[in-house]
Amino acid sequence: MIDWGWIASNLDDIWEATLQHLFHSVLAVGIGLVVSFALSLVALRWKAAYGPITWVTGVLYTIPSIALFTFLVPVFGLTSIWTAQVALVSYTLLILVRNIVAGIRSVPDHVVEASRGMGMTEARIFREVQLPLALPAIIAGVRVAAVTTIGLVTLTVIVGQGGYGLFILRGIGRRFLTEALVGTVGAVLMAVVVDRALVALERAATPWARRRAA
């Protein structure tokens, strides 16, 4: 049923698609994280801004992805990497902003007050106390965003981008199961591997949480 020969003779293409897929995903989540971070700082500084920020990012999140690509084509052009990136980044914002803000807010007041009482500046409290303690929530958000994005990158083929989507699209078009499966299984495997890697990163970055569990 599966044409192993085709896979063996196309390993180079598969590898290249893997790198492209990963590149688009990492770039989108990276930009999403930077943008979300800025939005979160605004929401934390001005409480009233949190509602509007989650409303806008929520609306972005609900737009069907195919429709969003279509809207963006006139702006950036059919094959621009930005047509794909703007759409992908949009989908990461809601989950990331929500988790960053919730993570920072979940740091107990008494910990922040004691830090202030010791003579830490507000900037230092954010950097050295709130941010590290929010890491588990932030990384949880990144995991969801990363898995979602890896799935969505399969669609960027319709705006001319590479990655596993190309195999899926061509495989379906040619009614060639093996090629479609390579794209699908590749994307699923990548999502699982990235997710596991992020879990490992969280464990390494938060030794205090691990020790408590032990």
């Binding site: 008494h110 004691a114 202030r116 009482g117 010791m118 830490m120 106390v129 303690l133 205090w208 020790r211």
Partner: protein, 362 residues
């Protein structure tokens, strides 16, 4: 050391001030407890001293400097701060927590390391705990770390907001005792907030009693407040057991002790009976060269030598430094209706209920 002049705090949106025109002078080296019912502004007052809360008006000086003239974070580095929930940094080890302020002050690594070792020993934390995270410690241990952290940069002033409120009563009493001893050794100026009047009079060298809205009702030595409450509010706040609370502050050694119906075991039975008659007692205490052996009921004193008797032990034996409150407890719970006091050199004497009562009615 700390001077509050006409300090007022009105929180935004509140119709009444949390603290109104409070003036309080805290001399260097004193242990001042702020106590009062909830809403009396005691915590607000404390937090205005290190500017966690900014006063609405008035002037606060620490060490002769107006706190409003200093950068808040620099001011706070020179004031130790301990809160009820401790507020240890959960992602930092005990060692790193204690080193917080020295690190902010830019001390070098060796100096910080020495200081952390010194502090952990001071508060009775084992060296094996230094590498742990706060979540791995008991409540009492966490509060010890909190105290060590507050003292690490050797600040002249320590602010404490119900520091022992979150631990169980047995640990609390232990920590109170330890901290009072520590204070005696270090000579810091301490401002200590509590809602517990017993803790306030036991810990403080001076007690400030606040009423709702931050009104200072009385500020004096605890013995004086218990003996002469300034007004109805203070006497009501002190509660019905005011006499007992005063007794708790007085050592047994401050009371006059009676020798009581006791004899050396070398005495004759006749002499023993004479002593019991003189005291109107139905029991006899026995000494062996000044050492207290115990007591025997009058009926057992017959014609044989006292040395042949088998004395019963006194269940409670007090030391001169124990409180009169403990003495009273010993009196009302013992079969012999007295509290016996024994010092380094042996038997010192005993107190009965009249003696204890004399001390508070004086």
């Amino acid at each position: 050391m700390i001077r509050l002049e006409e300090v007022t705090k009105v929180f935004p949106g509140a119709d009444r001030p949390a603290v109104s025109s409070l003036s309080l002078h805290i001399p260097e080296g004193e242990f001042v407890t702020l106590v009062g019912p909830s809403g009396c502004g005691k915590t607000t007052t404390l937090k205005m001293i290190n500017r966690i809360i900014e006063p609405t008006s008035g002037r606060i000086e620490v060490g002769g400097r107006d706190v409003m003239s200093m950068e808040p974070h620099l001011l706070r580095r020179s004031i130790g701060y301990v809160i009820q929930q401790v507020g240890l940094l959960p992602h930092r080890t005990v060692e790193e927590n204690i080193a917080t302020v020295p690190r902010l002050l830019g001390w070098d690594r060796d100096r910080i390391e020495r200081r952390v070792a010194e502090m952990s020993e001071l508060v009775g934390l084992g060296a094996d705990l230094l590498e742990r995270y706060p979540a791995e410690l008991s409540g009492g241990q966490q509060q010890r770390v909190g105290v060590a952290r507050a003292l690490a940069a050797d600040p002249p002033v320590l602010l404490m907001d119900e520091p022992f409120g979150a631990v169980d009563p047995i640990v609390r009493e232990h920590l109170q005792q330890e901290f009072k001893d520590l204070w005696r050794r270090l000579g810091k100026t301490v401002v200590f907030v509590t809602h517990d009047i017993d803790e306030a009079v036991r810990m403080g060298t001076r007690v400030a009693i606040l009423n709702v809205g931050g009104v200072l009702e009385q500020y004096d030595r605890p013995e004086e407040i218990l003996a002469n409450p300034a007004n109805d509010f203070v006497s009501r706040f002190l509660g019905e057991e005011r006499g007992l609370r005063r007794l708790a502050l007085m050592p047994v050694s401050s009371a006059g002790l009676d020798r009581g119906p006791v004899v050396e075991i070398t005495a004759t039975p006749e002499e023993a009976r004479a002593v019991m008659d003189a005291h109107g007692s139905d029991w006899l205490g026995l000494l062996d060269g000044g050492r207290l052996l115990g007591w025997v009921p009058a009926a057992e004193v017959g014609t044989s030598p006292l040395a042949d008797l088998e004395p019963r032990e006194f269940l409670v034996i007090l030391r001169p430094e124990d409180s009169l409150r403990r003495a009273l407890d010993a009196v009302v719970t013992s079969r012999t209706r007295v509290a016996v006091v024994v010092g380094e050199q042996g038997y010192l004497g005993m107190l009965d209920i009249d003696r204890v009562a004399e001390e508070i009615t004086e």
